[in-house]
């Protein structure tokens, strides 16, 4: 009897440890697999097939984060390398161009999502502080393919103006530029829109560096994602281990898993510069 009790006690103690081991092993395997997959992809990249294009929606998002204006040529994210996502001043113009440039798209989920993501990154209207905020998508014109029921209500612009007057929302100044922060947020960049010679040279060097490394985010943003990823993955691992050990229901486990997954994805994003 005593031996059985002792065995049960040991089993109970071992459970969390084993859970932690399983999770750690899973995460480690993921990290080990990632470079192998990247290597495989690099091998494939030696012969890039032209048909392998980005989804149109994602493409629009890239338009937003890189302030690309020429659909024929995708430009490397020089802005992202300098952590400048888009000029705030001509943001409205860029949004209009976005609508016009994407006029040959289809109203698929991916395209609609891409359009609103692009508008979010380009919008001069935002909520939050000067240094860290979230863009508010307020397109003034829409692409022809976007159905009426997927457009914002007609009063959205007026509501936004009232919110700006009331101090709830802010509008970026004409000469301000944005930088992407933490993947989804923005901040107003210290860099000026005017391209002075030294600034142009710096940007050219950064773009060349980005072209060599095939990266789309700069060192600062990579550091931010590394920090956030570490905290999220750590907290997610602990929460998931506790959720499994205490046998909580799927909703809690789902939240913990999502946190762990997003953390690992952030870490991978920081590692690859994508």
């Amino acid at each position: 009897m005593r031996a059985q009790k002792a065995l049960r006690g040991m089993t109970r103690m071992l459970k969390p440890v084993l859970c932690l081991f399983v999770l750690t092993a899973s995460s480690t395997t993921g990290f080990q697999l990632a470079p192998a997959l990247a290597q495989l992809r690099r091998t494939k990249n030696h012969a890039v097939h032209p048909s392998r294009q980005m989804q149109a929606g994602s493409n629009l998002a890239r338009h937003a984060s890189t302030c690309m204006k020429d659909r024929g040529t995708v430009k490397l994210q020089e802005h992202s390398e300098t952590n400048e996502a888009a000029p705030a001043g001509p943001a409205a113009t860029a949004m209009q161009q976005l609508a016009v440039l994407s006029n040959d798209e289809e109203p698929t989920f991916s395209n609609v999502l891409g359009f609103y993501m692009a508008c979010t990154f380009l919008s001069p209207v935002y909520i939050g502080s000067h240094d860290l905020h979230l863009g508010i998508p307020l397109p003034e014109i829409y692409p022809d393919w976007l159905p009426e029921d997927k457009r914002l209500p007609k009063g959205a612009q007026q509501w936004a103006e009232r919110a700006i007057d009331a101090g709830l929302l802010r509008r970026a100044a004409a000469d301000e530029r944005f930088e992407i922060k933490y993947g989804v947020l923005r901040g107003v960049s210290a860099a000026k829109a005017d391209c002075e010679p030294c600034e142009t040279a710096r940007r050219a060097a950064l773009r060349e560096q980005a072209a060599e490394g095939l990266t789309v985010i700069g060192e600062e943003e990579r550091g931010r994602r590394r920090d956030v990823g570490t905290y999220m993955a750590g907290a997610g691992s602990i929460a998931l281990t506790a959720a499994i050990a205490t046998e909580t229901g799927p909703p809690i486990r789902f939240c913990a898993t999502l946190m762990l997954f997003l953390g690992v994805a952030f870490l991978e994003s920081a590692r690859t510069g994508l």
């Binding site: 990249n45 095939l214 997954f261």
Partner: protein, 53 residues
């Protein structure tokens, strides 16, 4: 020029970058689609007890 004062990136590099970004998105979407439901729904307790017996 794209408003940055810089010449466009060569199409070949742009295509490689696009390919890399697509691969990254695809990879992590797939991992998420598999890993999140698994870790949410898998009965670790039963599996551990089976393993310990």
């Amino acid at each position: 020029m794209d408003g940055t004062g810089l010449a466009p990136v060569p199409p070949q590099i742009a295509r490689r970058l696009r390919d890399k970004v697509t691969g990254f998105d695809l990879k992590w979407s797939t991992i998420g689609a598999v890993a999140v439901p698994f870790l949410t729904l898998f009965d670790f307790k039963a599996a551990l007890l089976d393993a310990l017996q």
